[in-house]
């Protein structure tokens, strides 16, 4: 596994490693996804669009340069964009690996941050000096305008070129609520969705505010994923109930469907999914290639026992699968 370094989110030549519940694997091109599924199966994807959630600016008290990465908010409501959970970074930018970034200044409730056109106040420090609750000044439209003009997509050192917003929007992006791209959705394009429909494979969406995948700080990373708001349309809940097998496109869809337990509507996913989790809604997951130790990988342990995952990793390594959000994919069936 090596990190995909070019911002080519929708490489037509990407591959999928299908991993059966018996551990047997099969590598196919991305475009052959319909052949891995059966009529009556339902693919559920996250239609969140990614906001430019990295905001550079100044901590007014010390004059220090900081980067604020927005990481969560309590709802998906578009007029409720003043309060955010955020992670604070020191000077520098994404080209320095997060774990090597200089520490930000210590902040306290009441501190002001000047982030381009945006003004934010620290409301609370959430049990870690870099994890904050912030409030932006001004009405919602002004906050959106500031984020749209000043924000940049959150990105990591393995993609040095600055990403544009179009690099982090999936084809199906519909609701700007994600802090990082729901990247398994990069595997889908309209032609593939047409082929899936042609084979009688269902397609439905939910909206889940995907948060940060990594901060570079072990104590903070251990708290990921943070709480994430989601919305499941009634049509999607009905399709899930009627489906023979439900294939979640990505970890966020898995988290939302498992949290909702069949219900439609708004929710806040607070649970962690891991080896002890009994999956109730999702039969298989189509996901990017994640390294053992990442929170995304922990979720896969709910789908398959460790020997199966070890076999999967060995195959991914041997066949040179590209990892991370712009890489290739795994289709893992529940054991």
């Amino acid at each position: 596994m090596h990190a995909a370094t070019a911002p080519a989110p929708r490489r037509p030549d990407a591959r999928i490693l299908a991993v059966g519940s018996d551990g047997r694997t099969r590598t196919v091109p991305r475009t052959a996804l319909p052949d891995l599924l059966r009529p009556g199966d339902l693919l559920v994807a996250n239609d969140a669009a990614t906001i430019p959630a990295s905001l550079r600016g100044i901590h007014r008290g010390t004059g220090a340069t900081v980067e604020v990465r927005l990481a969560g908010r309590r709802s998906l409501a578009f007029d409720d964009v003043r309060g955010f959970t955020a992670v604070l970074f020191g000077a520098g930018d994404h080209r320095t690996p997060t774990e090597l970034r200089p520490l930000p200044p210590l902040v306290a409730p009441g501190d002001a941050l000047d982030l381009g056109p945006l003004r934010a106040t620290v409301l609370e420090v959430l049990g870690h000096p870099r994890l904050l609750r912030l409030r932006f000044e001004g009405p919602a439209a002004q906050v959106w305008d500031g984020i749209a003009r000043h924000g940049r997509p959150i990105q990591y050192a393995y993609v040095p070129e600055p990403l544009a917003l179009w690099d982090v929007w999936t084809r199906i992006a519909a609701h700007p609520v994600a802090f990082e791209a729901p990247s398994a959705g990069f595997l889908l394009d309209w032609e593939l969705l047409g082929h899936l429909a042609g084979r009688g494979i269902g397609f439905a969406t939910l909206t889940h505010a995907a948060g940060l995948s990594s901060t570079g700080d072990p104590a903070l990373d251990a708290r990921l994923p943070l709480d994430e708001a989601y919305f499941i349309p009634e049509a999607t809940a009905r399709a899930v109930a009627a489906a023979q097998r439900v294939v979640a496109v990505g970890t966020t869809v898995t988290r939302a469907l498992e949290h909702a337990g069949g219900r439609s509507g708004h929710g806040l996913a607070t649970q962690r999914i891991g080896p002890g989790t009994r999956l109730r809604a999702v039969d298989a997951i189509l996901t990017g290639v994640h390294a053992p130790g990442e929170s995304h990988f922990a979720l896969l342990r709910a789908f398959a026992r460790d020997p199966v995952l070890e076999g999967m990793n060995a195959t991914l390594e041997r066949e040179g699968f590209r990892s991370h959000e712009f890489g290739e994919a795994v289709l893992l069936y529940r054991s």
């Binding site: 669009a49 906001i51 959106w144 544009a164 917003l165 179009w166 084809r171 199906i172 519909a174 609701h175």
Partner: protein, 240 residues
């Protein structure tokens, strides 16, 4: 209470501060639709938004690639989704109008950027939202404002005509390709209207011979109503 069939419909209009675009913003606002509109000049955007309270005015230029996703983000955040996208912003190309042989390449590029590339990019960026609306049984529609200059070879209208011909064809191909995903695309030719764009093209035209943009806007609203009804009948569920 507003019981218009367009009440609650989420509509985005480009070029919303003058001519047909302004008439559309006003008519849609009156019909109870949720409206976001885009135009280049921030002062005019603010003035129109203030005139029609509740509408969302967004300053941006559809001909600029870097503005595309910023505008899409703002539109979706303002409306919470999208049912109808109306590509109305237009560039005439060279002003005053010029024969092709005297048209600067840059003037043709400008007409293509505004009239063809901009609508293509914005539709692409908003397609996720439009298909999501379709999956929820809502009407999902892209309207391209075209011109008979895109069908008839009028001397002097080369840059504009060629760009509108391409937009017209783009609209037809979108419709073929998007129909399976529940989204329709159509082209609307408003005819010669009494608008700033027409005045630039034909400064000495007699306004009495020109269509009022308000009349063309109401024809587009009639189209939207027809589409919303058809969708509702097919889906068997309310569209809004």
């Amino acid at each position: 209470m507003n019981h218009s069939p367009l009440s609650g419909l989420r509509v985005a209009v480009t070029g919303g501060t003058s001519g047909l675009g302004l008439a559309l913003v006003e008519a849609l606002h009156r019909a109870g639709a949720a409206v976001a509109f885009v135009a280049r000049r921030a002062d005019r955007v603010a003035a129109v938004a203030a005139r029609f309270p509740g509408t969302h005015g967004l300053a941006g230029d559809v001909s600029v690639k870097e503005d595309t996703h910023r505008l899409a983000l703002r539109i979706l955040a303002a409306l919470g989704g999208l049912d109808v996208l109306i590509h109305n912003a237009s560039s005439l190309g060279p002003v005053p109008l010029a024969p092709l042989a005297d048209t600067d390449c840059e003037a043709l590029e400008e007409a293509l950027a505004t009239n063809l590339l901009g609508p293509f990019r914005l539709t692409k960026a908003l397609l996720g939202a439009l298909t999501a609306a379709a999956r929820e049984g809502r009407p999902a529609l892209v309207i391209h404002v075209v011109s008979d200059a895109g069908a008839v070879a009028y001397p002097g209208w080369g840059a504009y005509g060629a760009s509108k011909a391409a937009l017209w064809h783009l609209s037809r191909i979108w419709d073929e390709e998007l129909r399976p995903h529940g989204v329709r695309s159509l082209a609307f030719d408003p005819g010669d209207m009494d608008t700033p764009l027409h005045a630039l093209a034909v400064p000495d035209a007699d306004p009495a011979t020109l269509e009022r943009p308000e009349r063309s806007a109401s024809r587009i609203l009639a189209l939207l109503e027809e589409h919303a009804h058809a969708r509702r009948d097919r889906a068997g569920t309310p569209a809004a």
